[in-house]
Amino acid sequence: MNDFRIPLGSWAKAFVEFITENLSFIFDFVRAIFSGAYDVVDLVLAAPPFWVIIIVAVVLGMMIRGWKFAVGTLVGLLVIVGVDQWENAMDSLALILVASVLAIVFSIPLGILAAKSDLASKIIRPILDFMQTMPAFVYLIPALILFRVGVVPGIVATIIFAMAPGVRLTELGIRSVDREVVEAGEAFGASPTRILRQIQLPLAMPTIMAGVNQVIMLSLSMVVIAGMVGAGGLGQQVVAALNRIDVSLGFEAGLAVVILAIFLDRITAALGTGHTPIGQLLAGRKRRRQASVAAASAISEADADMKTPQFAGV
């Protein structure tokens, strides 16, 4: 019995070694792009004095959710400055933004594909399950080998971990568009792309935005793990606090993560429902009020459906 062992692990290792040797140019290329994107976003966030960013965030909060939220944003961000985590917070925010945007860019087309083809859906579904349930640390190992220490393996692991709800909710949103409305498009001779563009995507938008919200939340939850592979930011602080059993540093860095999480969650959730001036702009013009009410209920259904935790891992 002792002799019998399935060498899955060594196969995985051989596979990673194979692609490191033969496809390294691809990974170098990806690495260059990801770190370039990160550097630009980080520059925008971290270079200006903190109060500039805070003013922008407060104005954004005001426009999207109203003055109460703006006040909350102001207080929260000032707390981050007060515990001396501002720069780390901006580094983490940059990582979250880059990873989320990339995850969304990958996941929405995949979601559309899964919605349009049952076969694609059947193939994509288990892969997503795998990606989401495999402990996130595991991605770090090949990511480290392929992209070397730094912010890029953190971004890659985050994208893989955070993509799933984006794909799922896009598929769900498109599939739950009223069949008769899609048929109406077909009956008047509209092409599949026109139906997608003019009917399915607009009507699925609230659900897709719920997916975007989930992607951002999951990205946030990866901050600490990314910190372990040298991504810097708040994650690195938490890891350092863990190593030194430093309760005060751990608490302060952790609190900063929570504040970022709440801010991002409320902002993206509001964008999805379109209850706000900007949300309405995004969802359409003002007279489309009615549609967004339906949208709001669609989101809560979708939430219940997916049972994705709002603050997973934070």
């Binding site: 008769e180 048929e183 109406a184 026109r194 003019q198 009615q290």
Partner: protein, 450 residues
Amino acid sequence: MTQIVAEYAQESAASAERTASTSRAPEIAVKADHLYKVFGRRPHDIVKKLEAGASREDLAHLGTAAVIDASFEVRRGEIFVVMGLSGSGKSTLIRMLNGLLDATSGTVTVGDTRITGIPAAKLREVRRQSISMVFQHFALLPHRTVIDNVAYGLEVQGMPRNERLAKARTIIRLVGLDGWADNLPSELSGGMQQRVGLGRALAADTDVLLMDEAFSALDPLIRREMQEQLIELQAELGKTIIFITHDLNEAMFLGDRIAVMRDGRIVQIGTPEEILTDPANDYVAQFVQDVDRARVLTAGSVMEPVRSVVTVTAGPRAALRTMRDLQTSATFVLRRDLSFAGVVRDRDVLKQVKSGHSDLRAIINEATAVSADTALVDLVELAVESDLPIAVVDERNRLLGVIPRVTLLAALGNVTTATGELPVTEPPSTISLSVISETLRETASEGAPL
């Protein structure tokens, strides 16, 4: 309303001319040829078994045979109604006509294009140009305003924005939604939403309109109004309409012809009157039992052959004799050219015969004459006013038939009168037979022999 219809009809006619010049439109607008639709794992096997004579129930464990061997032709400009209970396959049938569902077997032809099995791009072309649809649950685009919904078909056809909005505005007036152009569908009542759906299909300006229970979500008043509007539109625009309903009165009111479906099969196709008066089987008979017959049946379909009739030239003695033989108290009188002149009563004729006059014209009563397509509901009033039978005449005023009160009542109550044993004669003689015979004998020497 009518004026707008006319206005729209002009525009539409202009575009019709353009298409007509390129290809002469065929007489048959839509043709279904042995159509089958089976939902299930191996639909083709099921079709083979159905063709070999298996029944729908026999195969229920293998799949659902939603439409079985449906064949019909819809003529241009016709309102063709498909009627049947829930689940009888109406929606499945109509969805095959524009290819929303693929037929499992059989073919569909729209105009002169056979759409079964053609490439998707070609099919879209047919849908854009030739056949549009009004949906049961409206299926409006909820994120678009009324006018954008109405203009949708034109947008897909590639018409520039300003042009299509102008056209959509005409249609919005046509369907009575003035002032709602910039509202979202959700701000409209059900009836108004259905008008948007109708407007969207009309705007596309296709020859064929498919309507799947288009009026079933409307309250009775609006529904009636929409039905009348549809008939008006159809008369003006000459669209071919395939209309689905499970409401018999609606079917009878709208349909030039009706196809009755049962469990996936078309059990009878015919005019409303044929379906009512000559149901193909018990199912249809039962189905049509509680139709509002007074509105559907016409004078022509219930009239009896004329028995009691004389010509003016025959004179009073002949009239009296006819009445005696048939035991009626009145007889129809025809002029020399056989046109309908009126009715004479036995009392008057008797007097005339006794007094020796011989010109029937002096005593002719003007009688009610109606055309063959008058609805029974309009006859009831006439029947109340006079006890004389109602004459049915053609456009040249020639007597086609007669409707005694008994027949009218029987038709309304769905009772057969044609037992053949008792001639329906009404009103019955008021003067005893012996008196008539006596008079005829007494006067025999003076006039022509009996």
